[in-house]
Amino acid sequence: MSQQQRVRIMRGREWARPVRPARREVLSALPEVERGRPPLLFVPGFGHGAWAFAEHWLSHAAGRGFPAYALSLRGHGGSEPAPEATLRAYAHDVTQVAAGLPRQAVLVGHGAGALVVRHALARYPARAAVLVAPVLGDWATLGTALRRNPGGTLPALVGGGLRLSRRQLFSRELPDAEARRYAARLGRAGRRAQWQLLTHHDPEPAVGDPPVLVLGSPDDRVVPPATLTRAARRHGGAPLLFPGMGHDLMLDARWQEPIDAILDWLEKEHP
């Protein structure tokens, strides 16, 4: 994280106005034999739920010995509806689930979930963090979205829901029927949280300064490559790139490559 920023000890507003609890959906896949690997917590982006990771990545990670969990942020998937949710409430959901896991967890955020993870890192000492195709809320991402999907993005700017099209999310390699099925399951993030993508404050420094990996696709139609590079540079590295894939790396046809890269990196970081 940007270490120029100082740790904020006084959190008066957070103490005085704690986030309301909400019922949260958590899906998991556990390895058959406990191998002492850190648990992974997958955080889906706006519109997605835990199901997006349950499709392929959870069982694949479990197969390689990592206990894998995915949550649905409030208002998404099987979690409680929350139309007024804010970014802070989403980060609260992540720290709540992470602190409830048996061991110190690795947080993996996808899309806007990566921004939620960056905020959660300031309130929970993750063992490591992975930002997958991170939507960190900059103007370049908005520009790309407006260019690629004006019909879905413009309403969001005037308070409507952000709609993502399946051509933004998936490559052409994914069979059309599957792409339609996934796109039909997409929901919407809270209106206020959507606005906060552009108006939010920079996240506070991460507790314990965990290692951070950034990965994405140069052919992503949501996150421009320059944003990926910038995000990775902030954490002192370069992004891992998977050409030819769409924004939803965990659902696209070649979903196995990125998750294997993440697990390889974790094995190297925490042998």
Partner: protein
């Protein structure tokens, strides 16, 4: 977090130095830090030191974690009904939230399970030596420390290990303070300190005199009102009895809404008095003495039920005890009452039996340490006391930030000695600083801090330390 920095368990034979003129072998633990106690403050010290890359040996005299909050422990003051008096956001560690479906004021058993989860989550138990008590801590050359340990209860040989730094987290609510009363020896009834009160069955059907209006005293008075045949509650002065909820929210959260808006203390005191007058009303009509101070000038008493039972006549407020007779207790207003059981909820005194009192700046033998930020002793840059605070909120976030500050200081000692030296000067200059409004001066308020004032001071210390 790589295993190469983990020195593992001390091996007595690894590197033994023989100090000149002394036959005691000392095992040198290198850069490892020693933490005394695995209660809440000790656990967060272990976790934060590990997070900053230090090896840690933690010694715990009991066989489990949780310190005062583990009711199985000899020194635990908790009783069956103990609940928190600060709500969750003020009590949880800042980076490990309590489950948000827990009640606003969790029970002590939930708190213990929270600490157990904290220890498991961050894998802290591997650094803790259970059943081992620290009997001596002595400073040696180079700002290092010789720590003498042995099995709890005095079994087995003593072992001396040399550490780069020490965090004292042995708690301050376990050594009972019993005031002296004339004639107490000849009193025929039963006498008990609140530390040995565990269960309301101990009160059932008895005539009980409760002495002391701390949070414990009020809790037990309420239980006596429910269980005992008679309950007198003796207090030295009038207090403000804060309800746990005001305006439908936990009272401390309402107060902090005002602190967040930087409302000055005087205005908050005025609002508080006004709110109490509207809701609880004038307490003197129940026979309770009028408070001789403003709210926030003594440690807050958070109890919604005491006034309720006073109003039902189940608790009789009485003034201070003048003296004891064989079968009666004489009060300062001349009345005599005849309790069968007297419970002293008169608090605790800090005790550092393993440490020369002068190390903590207690030069007059009063037992009162003189520290900066209630944690740092002048002249001993590698020593910190964690959790020696009595805030108007939960202690654990304060212990967390104390130990984070200490870990960063230790890290800077290696990288930027000039910064560490400046910090040492700050410690010497700031000894004895208070972090609260004016408080009544008694041993009860030695460690009283306002959580906002205190944490702001820690924030300033951290910013100064890390300034680029």
């Amino acid at each position: 977090m790589s295993p190469s920095t983990d020195p593992g368990r001390p091996e007595p034979d690894a590197t033994t130095l023989a100090p000149p003129g002394d036959a005691r072998p000392v095992s040198d633990r290198g850069d490892t830090v020693c933490v005394i106690g695995a209660g809440a403050s000790g656990l967060t010290a272990v976790k934060n030191l590990r997070e900053h890359g230090f090896g840690v040996d933690c010694y715990e005299r009991e066989t489990g974690i949780g310190g005062a909050w583990n009711w199985r422990h000899d020194r635990s003051p908790v009783y069956a009904s103990t609940h928190l008096i600060s709500s969750r956001p003020f009590t949880q560690f800042p980076d490990f939230p309590m489950p948000d479906d827990w009640p606003d004021y969790p029970h002590h058993s939930q708190l213990l399970s929270y600490f157990e989860r904290y220890a498991d989550h961050f894998d802290l138990r591997q650094h803790i030596w259970f059943g081992t008590e620290v009997i001596r801590v002595e400073p040696v050359d180079g700002d290092r420390w010789d720590v003498t340990t042995r099995s709890t209860g005095g079994y087995g040989p003593e072992r001396i290990s040399r550490y780069a730094a020490v965090v004292v987290a042995n708690g301050h609510n376990w050594s009972p303070k019993l005031p002296h009363y004339e004639g107490l020896e000849e009193f025929r009834g039963e006498i008990m300190h609140a530390s040995s009160y565990k269960d309301p069955a101990q009160l059932r059907g008895k005539r009980v005199l409760m002495v002391g209006a701390g949070n414990t005293g009020c809790d037990i008075a309420v239980e006596a009102a429910q269980q005992a045949s008679r309950c007198w509650h003796s207090t030295r002065r009038g207090y403000w009895y804060a309800p746990k909820y005001v305006f439908g929210r936990p009272a401390d959260q309402v107060n902090d809404s005002l602190i967040a808006l930087r409302v000055p203390l005087r205005v908050r005191q005025w609002l508080y008095h006004w709110t109490l007058r509207l809701t609880v009303g004038d307490l003197t009509r129940f026979g309770l003495p009028r408070p001789d101070h403003r709210v926030y000038e003594t440690h807050p008493i958070v109890n919604s039920q005491l006034v309720y039972y006073v109003g039902h006549g189940q608790i009789t407020p009485v003034p201070d005890v003048a003296r004891f007779h064989a079968k009666a207790v004489e009060l300062t207003d001349g009345r005599e009452i005849d309790p069968e059981l007297v419970v002293f909820a008169t608090g605790y005194l800090p005790r550092f039996e393993f440490l020369d009192p002068r190390v903590l700046g207690d030069t007059d033998g009063s037992g009162r340490p003189r520290l900066w930020l209630n944690a740092f002793a002048p002249g001993h840059p590698t020593l910190a006391v964690a959790g020696l605070v009595q805030p108007d909120s939960g202690i654990f976030p304060l212990s967390h930030w104390q130990t984070v500050l200490f870990a960063r200081l230790l890290a800077l000692r290696l990288r930027r000695p000039d910064r560490a030296a400046a910090f040492a000067q700050r410690v010497a200059a700031g000894v004895g600083e208070r972090y609260s409004g004016r408080v009544k001066d008694s041993s009860r308020h030695w460690f009283e801090v306002g959580h906002a004032d205190y944490l702001r001071a820690v924030q300033r210390a951290m910013d100064e330390l890390e300034e680029k």
